[in-house]
Amino acid sequence: MTKFWIVFRKEMIDTLRDRRTLLVMVLIPLLAFPLMMKIVTSVTSAQVKKTMEKRLVVAYIESIPNSALLTKLKGESLFDLRTDISEKEIKTGIENGRVDFGLVLSPEFNEELSANKPGTLQFYYKGSDEGEMTKKRIDALLEQYEEEILNERFGRLGLERNIASGLNIVHRDVATMKEKIGEKIGGLIPYLFIIFCFLGSMYPAIDLAAGEKERGTIETLLVAPIGRMTIVFGKFAIVVAAGLFSVVLSFVGLFFSIKSMSEIPEEFIGAFLTSIEPITLISILLLLIPLSVLFAAIMLAISIFAKSFKEAQNLIGPMNFIVIIPAFIGMLPGVKLDMMTAWIPILNVSLATKQLMMGNADAGLLAIVYGSSLILATVALLFCTHWFNKESVLFRS
């Protein structure tokens, strides 16, 4: 066994026995997607159910009785119809939550309808999130009523109902389901992969350098007949592996959560599974390797510099923002991989992953992403090894 493997093997055993590392490297990535999806779908469906089943207080004012609309409103079992409220009270009632909606028919409403004109009515509501959702129930009722009015008019005049339609637009969306999914969730997935890649590497990097200094084990390693480069590479390989392992586990979590969630439509599951076919998955992992190398090299260098575990945590903590910001920008709609963004670290990986998921990745731009990431990762690794050879860093006090 070469000395590199001796160090690698020992660091792996040591890392896999650290509860804190296991939590961040294994448990969180594995459970993050299932938990997140379960929470989102549960909250959303509960919210929709609540909005659809909520009893609504609807205030109704008509100067001259219009039995058709009133009958419709009365027919809705989940409406509490109030006809004893003035128009002024409707406004204040909606503001303080006693009334949900108000319908006020104009005094000319019936005359307008009789003259084949649109009947004017005022629709009071509060445009907050919940208000917007429940408003759809009143809208649907009013649309149905309008349709009845129009059908009656067209029938009376002996005309076809569709005479009022000037165009018959047939929408033909040529985007594949894979592209649609890539566009919708293709931004979120690389964001999470990047975050897990970073978090997965973080504790091993801190523990294997700053932790080693703090425990006083670094001296015993430095006096063993092994080159410092071998020590760095042994540790470095574990940190990189930890980051990639986290990503793979997060993907496993994502895969099983999508497959097992009954709330997700079959069509979506099928399309999602085709958007992450093996070649796409391998390409994404290949993209994450240089990124993981970059993270590992930077974090290990910082950790070598730090005097203690705590100092390393304090120094690496702010790096979160440096990682999150470009990863987040990559999630925004409209931000695409081009000749400029392909050179921006982290953002380029995020955008390239998105394109790979959409199935329309540009080979030239991907080459730039791979190339620039590898160059940057190599520079970071060289810096890390240089740092490990510096006495003032290694024995900093």
């Binding site: 160090v7 020992k10 425990r215 006083g216 007949p225 024995f395």
Partner: protein
């Protein structure tokens, strides 16, 4: 054998470090070790005595190749510490009072790890492990994680780690710092047994009692310079009638010898 020739180590102090030294009314010297010479012979215990900050640890770290000398030469078991650092490390054992062990590994795993790093085969590791585990009574906790062991148990494992590869040279840097009497006794026994086996032993301390118990040869270091270098018996004879502590203080305040 260890030969130290005209050894100097200079650290570039930051402005902050210089300022704190001035505030503490200490001499601002960037030479932690300043042109020292000595040699340690096999089968003898060479003691490096000095107050805190005298340059003991820096000297021993240079011998163990952890630090590179700014000037001068060190040869350990015939190998140059700069040009043949890996060969030097293959021939030394190193133990300090603050040496740590990997908490999540077991004693057996730790000995195997260091044995392998020193190029021993698994069979050789097993054999040497058996000798030392028997001798120090480590078998009872050989498969328990280090983090669950007492300080004394840990120190026993550290001892085996230091000598698992049977090094001809053993370096002890204040090995009893922070240890209780019983654990310190184990270390003292180890140092004596290394001497018996004909190994070259160098150990640093600031405790006079340890010097009188162990030293064959003595070097007193103060502010990076050697104030005394010779046989311990000669030192005692030269200062007969005064306590060892007074002898040490007189030497440190007296003339510097090369």
């Amino acid at each position: 054998m260890i030969e130290v020739i005209d050894l100097t180590k200079r650290f570039d102090l930051s402005r902050k470090q210089k300022k704190s030294l001035i505030q503490a009314e200490k001499k601002v010297s960037e030479n932690a070790v300043d042109g020292i010479n000595f040699s340690c012979q096999p089968g003898r215990i060479f003691t490096l005595l000095g107050p805190n900050g005298a340059g003991k640890t820096t000297t021993l770290r240079m011998i163990a190749t952890m630090l590179r000398p700014t000037k001068g030469t060190i040869r350990v078991a015939g190998f140059d510490t700069v040009k043949e650092s890996e060969s030097v490390r293959a021939h030394i054992g190193f133990l300090t009072g603050t040496t740590g062990l990997y908490g999540r590994l077991t004693p057996r795993e730790i000995i195997r790890y260091y044995g392998q790093l020193h190029g021993l085969s698994l069979k050789e590791i097993e054999e040497r492990q058996k000798i030392y585990f028997d001798l120090l009574g480590i078998w009872d906790f050989a498969d328990k994680r280090i983090e669950k062991l007492s300080t004394g148990m840990k120190q026993k494992v550290s001892i085996v780690r230091t000598i698992v590869h049977n090094p001809p040279v053993v370096v002890f840097d204040e090995p009893t710092t922070g240890l209780d009497v019983i654990t310190s006794r184990n270390i003292m026994d180890l140092i004596r047994s290394c001497k018996k086996e004909g190994k070259t032993v160098i150990f640093s301390t600031h405790i006079m009692g340890e010097v009188s118990l162990l030293a064959d040869d003595l070097a007193i270091i103060h502010e990076g310079k050697l104030c005394y270098n010779g046989h311990f018996d000669d030192f005692k004879r030269a200062h007969s009638g005064v306590s060892l502590e007074d002898a040490f203080i007189n030497t440190v305040n007296g003339e510097v010898v090369k």
